[in-house]
Amino acid sequence: MNDMSVLSYQEAGCQAVAEEMRRDTTVWALGEDLGRGGVFGQYKGLVDEFGPERIADTPISEATIMGAAVGAALVGTRPVVEMRFADFALCAVDEMVNQAAKARFMFGGQARVPMVIRQPSGMWRSSAAQHSQSLEAWYTHIPGLVVAAPYTPADNKGLLKSAIRCDDPVIYIEHKDNWALEGDVPDDPDHLLPLGQARLALPGDDLTLVTWSKMVGVAEQAAALALAQGVGIEVIDLRTLWPWDQDMVFASVAKTKRLLVVHEAVQVGGFGAEIAATVAEHLAHVLTAPIRRLGAPRAPISYAKPLEDLLRITPEKILATALSQMAVTA
């Protein structure tokens, strides 16, 4: 079955949950306002099909949304946790980090915690410091967690379905600026995208640009600008941050001999540092220019538009960084 439909990123995520709930009666979703479709419409219509027991409206109790999901996962259900904004998941860090991520290990493999933790992330116009953060790097640091951050609508369907079927707790990062993004999405209810596989978004010979989530689109714009100047940027959409697709990144860097990692999150301690360090450990001898990272300054995100824009990664900033790397000759 290779039929496709044009869906938005939001609709693709919604379809993924619906299909998995039809397939497996132990799958359920819980979070605030889900009965009205969720704050971004990513559960639209699901309560009509599945009822309020499986599309559960919860109190504004993030710690217990997360903790109850852990308990329900331990006894054989597969909860999809909606955190509404990634920033709010910080009210439930104990439940994610000390409980969900640790239970299987601490209990000597007696239990699994098959849950998906959806965290709408990233800058979203004029939302200021508590509704705009990109915190994916924190979770890559925690053994036991899988971290996914899809960019395309098709990937949002395929990865979310894989996350729901995965027996590990999966931190699932959806970018809030992506909800309306449209694209071809496979109709096949068994369209699964394996966690841990990157996507070659754009081929190029001169520089490898590794990124994820909304920044893939920004990187593609930068690559078009670079091509006009005769520079071929290869854009890799990582899709899953833990585990990340080292094979694809290493093969690309071996070809281009240059690496730039771009993310919307704060650059200091960001996941770009891990990629840069790993590539340096293995491929420093092939590089013809220093590895560069491009992330946000270490500043909270402002409300006022000009201040907010100052922190955004733009195609122009990416282009300038890439060209500076091209200017270095071995």
């Binding site: 109850a68 852990v70 329900a72 331990l74 104990d94 299987r104 601490m106 209990f107 590990d168 585990p243």
Partner: protein, 338 residues
């Protein structure tokens, strides 16, 4: 208002049942005395939190549970595990960090779990077991299973947010949970009263629509009787209930805490209210012979001496287990590490 269910001591007791409750308490006591000894000798590492003096609550509540019912407990959870049916041999191996421990030696005293008997895990974070118990009950309801989940915690936990969130959640979703608050008087090394505002645990529960019952937790027969009334109601779909059991932590916060922060005369006097002492007195009054009583005691002591010796002699876990059971996707690879 919460109901007070302290029993009229004169009423008739079921001697065989009290023998069983006494045996459970004695086994818990003997296990913890052996664990304390092994902790002080250095054979058991890390923090060991003893529930000595609180055995009546664990024994009385768990005597009313089915094997398929589930519990969550705290860092002070040895008693609940034994009362729910976990093998003390596997528990002691776990404390010693050895192969064959309940968690293969990867959890230790604070993370004992035994899913076979519905023991969903002790927890190193105060109050963290509350949302997990609530979620296990939520899962049971979704799956259409008639399990009851008992959530044990102490008076220190009632000042954490998950207490309020978890009780509210259980009430609105009408979940089959019995919350059991063991009022042992201390939040770590601080007197609970000094850091707890208002009228206390039961009042907080009732303010959230969870009916509360108060009991003398050191009277194992009273706890057994009350739990025997509450658990069938919960199983019948009445929603969550709250049991507040007054007890006393006869030891310090951990095995190495001499608890000098409390009035020593008052603390010493609490040994007169030891639930084992009280149950033994009742058994004598009910005609149990000294020989029968000491046979229970020596059987428990012998059992726990044997499990300690076996744990001491057992092999440590294989090193590769440090990388087992972390995750399916993106797990570390032991062989590849330099």
């Amino acid at each position: 208002m919460s109901e007070n269910h302290n029993r009229d001591i004169a009423h008739n007791i079921d001697r065989d049942r009290l023998v069983d409750l006494y045996r459970t308490m004695r086994r818990i006591r003997a296990f913890e005395e052996a664990a304390e000894k092994a902790s002080l000798s250095g054979q058991v590492g890390g923090a060991v939190h003893l529930s000595i003096g609180q055995e009546g609550v664990a024994a009385g509540v768990c005597a009313n549970l089915r094997r398929t019912d589930q519990i969550t407990t705290t860092h002070r959870g040895h008693g609940h595990c034994i009362a729910k049916g976990t093998d003390p041999g596997a528990m002691m191996l776990e404390l010693f960090g050895k192969q064959g421990g309940t968690c293969g030696g990867k959890g230790g005293s604070m993370h004992i779990a035994d899913f076979e008997v519905g023991m969903l895990g002790a927890n190193g974070v105060v109050a963290a077991g509350i949302p997990i118990a609530v979620g296990a009950a939520h899962g049971a309801k979704l799956l259409g299973e008639d399990r009851v989940v008992v959530c044990f915690f102490g008076d220190g936990a009632i000042n954490r947010g998950p207490f309020m969130e978890g009780l509210n959640w259980a009430a609105i979703f009408k979940l089959p949970v019995l919350f059991v608050c063991e009022q042992n008087g201390f939040a770590s090394t601080t007197h609970s009263d000094a850091v707890t505002a208002g009228a206390g645990a039961s009042a907080r529960a009732e303010s959230l629509g969870v009916k509360a019952f108060e009991i003398d937790g050191n009277d194992v027969t009273a706890v057994d009787g009350l739990a025997g009334e509450l658990i069938p109601k919960i199983r019948g779909g009445d929603g969550p209930l709250f049991l507040s059991a007054r007890t006393y932590r006869l030891k310090g916060h951990t095995s190495v805490d001499p608890a000098l922060y409390r009035d020593q005369a008052h603390a010493a006097a609490q040994w007169d209210n030891d639930p084992l002492l009280r149950a033994a007195k009742e058994l004598r009054r009910a005609g149990l012979s000294e020989d029968d009583l000491s046979a229970i005691d020596s059987a428990a002591l012998g059992e726990m001496r044997r499990v300690s010796e076996a744990a001491d002699a057992a092999p440590a876990p294989e090193l590769a287990h440090a990388f087992d059971d972390i995750q399916d996707i993106g797990a570390p690879v032991w062989e590849a590490r330099p």
